[in-house]
Symmetry: C2
Subunit: 122 residues, 2 copies
Amino acid sequence: MMDDRISIADKLALIGEHWRPGIVGTYNENKIVVVKVQGEFEWHSHAETDDFFLVVSGHLSIDLRDRTVELDPGELFVVPRGVEHRPRADVETAVLLIEPLGTRNTGDDGEGSALIAEERWI
Amino acid sequence: MMDDRISIADKLALIGEHWRPGIVGTYNENKIVVVKVQGEFEWHSHAETDDFFLVVSGHLSIDLRDRTVELDPGELFVVPRGVEHRPRADVETAVLLIEPLGTRNTGDDGEGSALIAEERWI
């Protein structure tokens, strides 16, 4: 491809529904994902991988069991593997995520969740 | 730590010299790095890993042997493993990089380079 740079803003413009991530690229065995979120996700964890969150716009709260991490645009947080977390946003918030290809958005125990989102490229 | 979110702007404020990356966090076995660059780096490649570039400010040109990828703020590019590349910036440019811990900035053949930068946390 002659133009395989990725514009985060252009990719986010393709995202409609909240909590429905779109894959925009890969880095080694990881997917680079953008997502728009608002409201409260569900508690989950990933035993085998850290979870990279970079806020692009809005404001993201990541509840952990003992505290909450508050992220403004340009701030990032890596949820360590195995740590239960619940993303939450009062306003519509855009996030860049990195996690291994095949990682389920609802976590290891989220197989039957209504919030499950299949992997899709945008 | 009670506040382990990472502000890219705060970390960049700690960076002085060009082409001297600072590690700000890890994601699995990868380092998350910020760097300020200006001028021309040297051609290099990494046989074992892709190289993730996200431009924060300024403008980054990544020369490949057959073309150049031009990146404005909010745009990212993943140099595939093994592909020779040369980052270059006319103006001072801030970049977020992700690559495996232990990856040499000057690439597989850059052991004797004057541009080599040891890994350091900021």
